[in-house]
Structures are given as structure tokens and as C-alpha cells.
Symmetry: D2
Subunit: 283 residues, 4 copies
């Protein structure tokens, strides 16, 4: 259909909404959804608008050109894309398949606006799952010695398919600082704790040791600073004294899958905008 | 401060946001918050805008006059009020005080944008609580014979104080059809079940009898059709086989208070718009 | 391992726990888990004990024989089985695969103590999913004319495999009264609403029409009285005015899967005991 | 009535339940509630039993004497008290009254099995609230210089009333190490974050800075190690990008009150047993 999605941020000042909506009105577009947020702390304004152009065959480039003058006037950082254009996504996993299984089923049933161009893993355990969905599987093992080469392979894949999102669905390797930087805002990780609690390895075991009564999961953009990237979504699961660390691991699977799926879904609908080290989520 | 809140609904068509925001821009207002919803089913458009006029002393009447031409063009149903103007509210209770206690504490700590002009009860149990907050208490007993008179007293109170919201904080009497109609959209009730489950009397006992694993509470606008009014908010509490009906009653208190407080708070911030028998909640 | 699970119910009176635990102590068993509930309303006592016999090769029949005298003294209805003995289960589905997908993944990863002896469907859509897990798929179409025959086929399957649990993972056909009666307490259904709200067909559409702010799902044992069987588990998902009936359907998938998986898991660990038209869940 | 509550822990071995329940059976007691937990990690066994002695006038000392031989045989640490015996409690607050207001209302309505022998504050803001409930209010200001004296006053109060629980309902002073040690397991604090996230001062501001999507509260026993004591209960509240630190503070009030009330209620029903630096909660 002829829907476009516009996301933007700029220094806040009167007249932004008027300018944007006047522009859309003049081009006979009808606003379907519109959300905005004005951050008094940073003085920046954020907006997401989904509008119906009424056209069967939309020339996005033309709409971008036309909007450029509005954007320039306000110093906007912005993006404009067709609502139906799927995000080109690579999913990375290691051995645990619960998050991948949940994501693939949702994706197959049309809930995730993405083309999964490949599944990458440092193991082969989940190759059958990838194959059952007809998705190319890339086995890229990682050792200390081969890490640079492995990342080079990943970069090639990203470049070859013009990948827009890398979804780390329990990928247990740390990406290099360089890669984190180069793919900034394009890599979503699921951390199996309620960040900032229990950073690093074996968070459920840490949680058990601390005797918490609630465990959680956190989806966040990956930065060079491990487990410190902007948080997209979090959710929790109650636990009690009868559960040991392994029970927490099992109980956490569900919340990991849920939180990750939401984050990926929102990203693929252009609902997330970075605001320094925080996220605006127009869910 | 100089903030105004505009709420409106009208038949959906291109140009509404542009017209409203252009109007505000021309009057040098800065949009602080803006939410909209386009209901494809009914073809109606709904909007709430909070904007800063930049003026120390806002003449609301003047702003209303000016906006009238925009409103007329689109056939808008609309309201415009100062953000700081408290809603004039009457709270009605019977014997259970938990919802009232919670509401009054929140109100006292500034969370509810209301002037509580009086607390009305068909009993005297909660008079001390009303007094401890310095709020006038009106004891209006209700029997089959005195019901008409009691409602007349209530109407007087409403008229005398120009009451904008009647909050039924576990008021156990049914209002007459006439009163419901005359006060349409201005009376919020808390029903102690997860509507439409367990309408009518003793919902926790009904819930126990059915063996549910989750109980709930529902805040809704009151209509002549008992427990059928537009739902504003709902929430739940888990229960288990060890709890009897009285335990459910106790467990439910918390969720009743929470749900009711949210509904009243939102109403007093002009965040709720009626859409036929449903609510738009711009929370 | 040598763990056994004992579940029992009987008229409540002093000495039950003493008798059971004394018996286990004399047989050198060590109690691993024990839960009990005394229902003052019905005067019945319910208990679940998991104990370690300390034996590598447990002769369950022998333990049953020995326990019989204790059981007889108190008029117990009881069961004793090895903790590791998987429940023989048939899963029935129609076209929606989200609940099945979630269940199969959990089952594959060892969370559900069951042998899935077959997947039965009145459609063929989910045959590939069944096959990818290596589970026999039975296509048993149902029309008004063939219903009796279809149920006969199902009964054969149940008899042939000594099936202990039939899990209706969004099976959209109503079972006959006779079948419900004959399989009483052995059929778990997932209803896609927060029962007793929205019984019958298209519950999400009913929920949308009523304008609720929370949707839910209910796992219950099937009885001849449609959607009235004993509730095992319920959970909810928040919704808002922006969501239409189809959005509710999508949002509900997750909670349906979650609720159903818990109910099936608990059944297969002998954690559920029927108490008239209610359930005791020793989760 | 004649109900007693027994709580115990001891090294795990076969025969504990049999011995305890046989003892109760011989004394003609009927078990009302019973919960147990066997910690494989530490090899300890924990149990809580509530039983009905059937006696109008129970001589607790006598029951203690009789149970002593059972306890001795298994090396039990144990307590036995009448179920109706209220815990003697002191509540400490500073300026924020939401947690106190919630606790007092629940206490007044009979939900908390406690005698509040006094409310202690380093400020006078909440004196009226204390008075409205008829509870003695003690203003004990604390400065660096007077801290020792202030704690001496508190110790006197504790000694004079044989206080069993000190409930820190947002008391903003740190207790000295000595006091923490001397009152070990008898002081419950509510920390306004989801521990171990955001220890120390201004946790909501820390939470805002980190950009979390969920905030929480934690009730825990106080130890000399600040914010590191055994966790009793935790719960959470969703937040979003529109909320600043002050909004988080307001949103958190509700969850703080809820979490704290549960912890205090459970403690006063002897439902919590310490297991090294963790809690067993037989809720």
C-alpha cells in the first residue's frame, strides 16, 4: 500500500508539527499514526508519523526530496521509508534456541516486518531450525585466533545484503569494539537479566546467589561498552526460594523470548529512536 | 503556568493536525504533548494537545473564541481548559474505605488534579477519614423511600459546586437511570471484578465460585445500564486455590484502589475521550 | 531415578500427614516436595508428595500395594507414579499454530514431562510442524456428518496408546458430550479469553466490542458444559484503544501459549487435583 | 482461637515430617497449613506448620516443652507461637508518607498481625498521620553528632516494648553496624529500587539515568552491609521514555507500598525463615 513512515529528531522549537503536517497535507497525505516527544532535558524533539499517500505506487525518493526542505529548516535528523518495506535482518545465535524459535514463528506468521537474510551461528546446533524455515544458515565458528576473520565474514554478509538489523538471539560471543561502533544502533541483543543488575556472564546464577524474587530480561542496542547500551525493553518473571539457578534459567526463557521479540518488532516498524544513551520507543 | 489542554474529536479527514498545529503556531504556542487516534471503524478522529502559550496570564475565553473557527471547519466536538485548573470532584463512598484512603493520600500528595468539594456517603463510617483531610462530609442515607430525595440532595451539591466529576469509590448504591443520564461521562465507578465477568453483587464470591485464578477490578463511566458503561481501566491480581471468597476480597482491595486512582487521575488531566461505548485513553 | 509422586485426596481429619509420612519414613523414603490443602468448605484434604525411594530400580506396584492400607484407612482417592514416567499425550490443533509451536519447543527442550504420541488435526496446515519434530500426524477432518466417525478415530488412538492427556492447542471443534464425559479430567483446552468473560466463538472480537483494557487466556479441563470446566490457569495482556480485534488476536497469541504450556506442564507433573468444579494446583 | 504456628529449620534427613506430624497427631492437633523446603545446596530443611490444638486456652509454654524433645533429636532451630499473638512492631519513617499511609490503613483493617507500639521519625511531618491512627509518635532527630544518642533512644523503645519487628517505611537514615547486628532479622527496609540495581541514594534518578523501562522496589532484612540484606519481596512498575526522574518517583510509590506491606504481613505471620543470606517465604 501507499503508507510511508517518517521518523525525525531535531532541536525543539515552536512550529515543527505545524510544518510537517502542513507539508503532508499539501501533498494530500492522510496521517494514520503520529507520536512525538519533547525532551526538556536535552532540548530535542522526536517524532514518528505514519501517513497514507493515497498512491498505489509511491516514489519514496520523490517524497524524500520534497521533505528535505522542511527537514533542513529545522535541522532534522530523519528517515522516510515505505511502511511495507521489510528490514533486512541477520539473526545470530549460539546453542540456545528458545529465543530464535519464538522469533522465527512470529516472523513466519507475519508479526515481524523483516526479511531474514541469514542466520549466523558459531555452532551448528540450530542449523536444522534455520533450514526448517528455509533460511540460509552460516556457520561461523569463533575462537580467539579466528575472531577477526569471523567478524570479517559477518561484515561481508552485512555488506552483501545491505543488512539493517543484526538480532543477537542469545549469541554468546562478544563483538569487537570496532564492529560495535560500525554497526551502532543496528545491533539488538537480549541480555538474560534485568539490567543493570547482573551484567556479564551467567546472570541467572548471579541472580540466584543474590536471592532475588524476580528475574528479568533486557533487550538493548549493542555498544562497545558491554551490557551498557541503550535499553529498548525489559520484562520480568517472579521466582521463589524453591528454584535453583537452573530453574531460573528455564523460567527466564519465556521472558527473554518475549522481550526480544518486542524489541525486534518495534525496530522493524521504525518505532525506536536513539536519544543519546536512551531510547524513545513509540510503541 | 500558561499551559492549555485541548481535546477534540471530529470526522476524520486530511488536514486536521495541520490546521490545529498551524493555528497554535500562529499564536506562538509550543506543543508540549500531543496524542491522536484515528478510528477506522467509526471514521472519527480524536486528539489531545497540551501546549504552552508562553503567557503568564492566559485568557482562556480568548483562546476558545479564536479556536472556534478551526473547530467549526472540521465539525469538532472540543474542550479547551487550563492545565492547572483542577476538576471539581465529589467522592461517594459507603462503608469500605480502602479506595477512598488511597485516593485521598494521592490527592493530598498532588497526584490528582482535582478539588474535592465534598465526600458523600450513605453511612457515617468514613466521616473521620474525610475530616482528617479537611474535606466536607455529607451524610445522605438512602432507603427505597428516600432514594429520590437523596439524589435530589446530590444534584444540589453538584449544581452548587459546578461539579465536573463524581468518583464512586466503592459506593454501594445504584444511581437512578435519570441521574446516570444527566451526569453521563461525569461519573466514574470502580467495579470489583474484571468486567464483563461477574457483574452485579458480590463479584468476589462469584469469582470464588467459578474457581478463577486471577481476579480484577474495572473503572468505568456509569451509564443507566449497570456495569455496562465504557471501561476506562482494568487490572488484575493472581489468586490460588488456598484463598476463599474473603481472601479474594482482601486481595482485591489493592487492585481496586490502583485502578480507580488511575482512572480518576486521567479524567482530571483530560486524557479520556468517549468514543461511543468505548474510551480513548491518552495516558 | 527413584523418585515417586503421590497425590491423594480424602475427608479431612487429624493424622493424615502423620500416617503418610510415617509410612514413607518406615520405607526409608526421603520427602523431596510436599504440598497440602485442607478445604474447609468441602471438608476434604488434598496432598501431593514427591519422595526419593533411594532405589535405582523402583517397583511401583509394590509401593502401591504397601500404600493401599494407609489409603484405605482414610478413604483416599490416590495415585502413585514414578516422577520420570512421561504422560502419554495427544495434541489436537486446527489451523493456528502458535500454541502448538510453543508447546513443541518446550517439550523438545525437556520442560514437559510427556510423550507426544500423536498430533491430531481437522486440517493439514500444521502437518509440517508435526513432522519437523518427528511426531506422527493424524488428519481427522470433521464435518457434521463425519463427527461421530472422527471421534471414534480419536477414541481408538487414545485406547491404542493408553493416552493420559489430550491437549487442545487451539482445536476449534467442540467435542461431543459423551467424549467429554468419558475423558473427564484428561482433556485440557486453551480458551482465548479470560473466562468467564467471552465464552463461545470469537472471544477477541467480543472483547474488542466491549472495550476492555486487558485481554486474557484460560486453560481449563474440558467438560460437557462448554467453557465451564474447572479452570487451571489464567493470565492477561494489556491492550489499548488503538488496537482493533485483529490486534487483540495477535496480542493474545503469546498469553495463550504461556497459559497453555503451564497447564500442560503442571498436569504432566501430577500437580493438579480436581476439587469438584475447581482445581487445586500445587505449582 | 487455639491455633499455633511452628517454624523450624534443621539438617535435612529422612523422618523429620513424620516425627513432627506424629507428635502433633499424638497431641490431637489438626494441621491447617504446612509448607516445607529442602535446600539441596545447604542440606538444610525448613518447615512451617500451622495447627489447631482444639483448645480454647492454649498453654504455649507447655507445647514448647513437649516439642523440645522432637526438636532436640533433629537439631532444630525453631519457634512456636500462637497464631493470634500480634508481633510488637515499631515503624520508622522520615518525610515520605505513602508507605506509612498504606501500611497503617492495612493494619487498621486487620490485614497485618501486629501491634504498632510506636512510630519513630527523624522529622515531624508524619506526626499527624500517626496521631490520626492513635499511635504514639516519637520524634528522634538524627544528626552526625546525635546519632549515637538517637540509636540509644531507639534501643530503649525496643527493650521497653519487647519489639519484635522494626519496619523502615522509607526511613532515610542508615542504622549503625552495631544496631544492624543486634537487631538482625528483625528490621525490614523498603529500598526504592529493584536490587541489586541502583543501590544507595536516589535510585529513581539512577534508574532514569540508565534509561530502564521497568522500575521496582525491594523489601529486605537490614544488615550492616547496606542494601545487601536478604531480599524478602520485589515487584515492578513499567515506565517509558516520557517519564523523568520525578515521574519515576511518583510511579514508584505504589509499588514500594505494595512490596513493603507484603513483607511486613508475611513476617508477622511467621512466613519468612532466613536461609543464610536468602529468605524462604512460605507465602
Amino acid at each position: 500500500e501507499g503508507d510511508l513512515v517518517l521518523t525525525l529528531s531535531c532541536p525543539d522549537r515552536p512550529g515543527i508539527v505545524a510544518a510537517v503536517t502542513q507539508h503532508l497535507f499539501e501533498r494530500r497525505a492522510n496521517i494514520e499514526e503520529s507520536q512525538q516527544f519533547s525532551d526538556h532535558r536535552t532540548g530535542r524533539y522526536f517524532m514518528r508519523v505514519r501517513f497514507d499517500t493515497g498512491l498505489a505506487d509511491v516514489d519514496v525518493e520523490d517524497w524524500r526530496r520534497e521533505f528535505d526542505s522542511v527537514a533542513g529548516e529545522f535541522g532534522m535528523v530523519w528517515e522516510l521509508r515505505k511502511a511495507v518495506t521489510a528490514y533486512r535482518m541477520v539473526v545470530m545465535v549460539s546453542r540456545f534456541g528458545h529465543v530464535l524459535n519464538d522469533l522465527l514463528f512470529r516472523w513466519k506468521s507475519g508479526q515481524i516486518n523483516a526479511d531474514i537474510v541469514g542466520i549466523v551461528s558459531n555452532h551448528t546446533d540450530l542449523e536444522p531450525m534455520a533450514r526448517s524455515y528455509g533460511i540460509p544458515f552460516h556457520h561461523i565458528p569463533v575462537t580467539r585466533e579466528t575472531k577477526a576473520g569471523a567478524e570479517a565474514q559477518l561484515r561481508e554478509l552485512v555488506a552483501a545484503h545491505d543488512v539493517e538489523l543484526i538480532a543477537l538471539a542469545r549469541y554468546m560471543q562478544v563483538l569487537s569494539d570496532d564492529l560495535c561502533r560500525d554497526l551502532g544502533g543496528r545491533v539488538i541483543n537480549i541480555h538474560h537479566s534485568f539490567l543493570p543488575s547482573f551484567k556479564g556472564a551467567k546472570p541467572y546464577h548471579q541472580a540466584f546467589a543474590r536471592g532475588v524474587k524476580v528475574i528479568g530480561a533486557t533487550a538493548h542496542y549493542v555498544t562497545a561498552d558491554l551490557d551498557e547500551g541503550p535499553i529498548i525493553e525489559q520484562d520480568i518473571h517472579r521466582v521463589d526460594h524453591r528454584m535453583n539457578a537452573e530453574d531460573l534459567v528455564a523460567a527466564g526463557e519465556e521472558v527473554e523470548s518475549r522481550v526480544f521479540a518486542r524489541a525486534v518488532k518495534w525496530h522493524c516498524e521504525s518505532r525506536i529512536i536513539l536519544n543519546e544513551d536512551r531510547t524513545i520507543v513509540f510503541s
